[in-house]
């Protein structure tokens, strides 16, 4: 597929520009638009938001009558020193505190935002193994993966403006290398999930909508 081929010269120029250089701005999100098709079905959805508590997002999602779980993985990732090497990697126990142990939940939607960009491949595997029991066939995971060489040193804050637009808030000018997950390995790392839809955006973000495999709920 041409989208997944190595970037041409125009894309290389984009790579030289990091996201941290940009001002907070609104980007059209095709993945979000696809995700909200699920919200519009009218069912009371259980939504896991791995980002920080943002009132505007809660406000927006409240229109759909969903129950929102906020597990601020961003805060822990931001506090953690950037994983410099494999030895710094977080083990499975690192992720266990991020999902509700007291209240059993089965999420319909997981808003992962750009969290995966801040995990190593091994960490992503640990995290998805921990997340998987909280999901059911048909659960959707919305993730934004950078295809650029560098990413902001801290995760971006994404605000839902409407069903098709996201505001990006980058809180640091410092950068770090991006893991640059490619689509083929995403399928492998997110075992039990498959890419339902994928959209490559012009500013160097590839939006993914993963779906948990299996027979869907009616």
């Amino acid at each position: 597929m041409s989208w997944f081929s190595s970037p041409g010269s125009r894309e290389k120029k984009k790579e030289q520009r990091t996201l941290a250089e940009t001002e907070p701005q609104v980007h059209r999100s095709l993945g979000l638009a696809a995700l909200f098709e699920e919200f519009r079905r009218g069912r009371k959805l259980q939504v896991l938001d791995l980002g920080p508590a943002l009132g505007s997002n809660v406000e927006f999602l409240s229109q759909y009558g969903c129950k929102i779980y906020i597990e601020d993985l961003f805060a822990a990732l931001s506090a953690r020193a950037p994983a410099g090497g494999e030895g710094d990697e977080a083990g499975p126990q690192f992720f266990e505190s991020f999902l509700p142990a007291s209240e059993p939940a089965s999420f319909d939607v997981v808003l992962a935002w750009d969290t995966f960009n801040y995990l190593t491949r091994k960490e992503l595997g640990h995290f998805m193994r921990h997340l998987s029991p909280f999901c059911h066939p048909g659960t959707l995971v919305f993730s934004l993966i950078s295809i650029l060489k560098t990413i902001p040193a801290q995760p971006i804050r994404f605000r839902i403006i409407d069903e098709q637009n996201l505001a990006y808030e980058i809180r640091t000018s410092a950068t770090r290398p991006a893991p640059r997950f490619v689509p083929a390995e995403m399928n492998d790392l997110l075992r039990g999930f498959r890419v339902d839809r994928s959209f490559l955006l012009r500013h160097g973000i590839q939006e993914y909508l993963f779906v948990k495999e299996g027979e869907r709920r009616p």
Partner: protein, 189 residues
């Protein structure tokens, strides 16, 4: 100094006055010929000071401000509960409007509205037909805006019907000019 206010004995003019609870302005009101009204307890407000530590359940018939530490259960379903900036609550909190400026480790049930201020932190679940999270606040848990479940299902004062899920209040109330706020970003786009 030529001018000096006559302070009542026992007061120290250098110290700021503690926040006084709003009281009905009965003195300034014109004298009404009708029979005197019973005391309006809804306008009263109790405060648990910063040095107070309460272990046990709290219940009452007036609004409450918690600036100290409470462990147990706070049950004021018909009244407003404010956990002040110094407040540390390890309890489930039931109220009409629950405002968190300090820290709560427990579930919040607000029949009308739950407000998590910028300085506030909640580790627990919030159940209320209206939820306001200010930017900078810390929250870990779930938010359920099904009005029928708020405040133990008392339904007091809630105009939201179950299923309508109410409407979350503006996230950046009073912060519309903050750089990077949702409103600003949206307008910039």
């Amino acid at each position: 100094m030529a001018w000096k206010r006559d302070d009542p004995p026992g007061t120290n003019p250098q110290q700021p006055e503690p926040p006084s609870p709003p009281r009905p302005l009965t003195a300034a009101a014109p004298a009404a010929p009708s029979a005197p009204e019973p005391p309006r307890r809804s306008g009263e407000r109790a405060t648990i000071g910063p040095s107070i530590f309460i272990k046990g359940d709290l219940a009452g018939e007036e609004d409450l401000v918690i600036e100290g530490r409470v462990e147990g259960k706070v049950d004021l379903k018909q009244h407003n509960v404010t956990i002040g900036k110094n407040g540390r609550v390890k309890a489930d909190v039931f109220g009409r409007v629950v405002t968190v400026e300090g820290e709560v480790d427990g579930n919040v049930f607000a029949a009308e509205q739950a407000v998590l201020r910028q300085s506030g932190a909640v580790r627990g679940n919030i159940t209320s037909p209206r939820v306001t999270l200010e930017d900078g606040s810390r929250f870990k848990g779930s938010i359920d805006m099904d009005g029928s479940r708020a405040a133990g299902g008392s339904g007091s004062g809630s105009s939201s019907s179950p299923g309508s899920s109410g409407k979350a209040a503006a996230a950046n109330e009073g912060q519309a000019n903050r750089p990077g706020s949702a409103a600003n970003v949206a307008n910039a786009g």
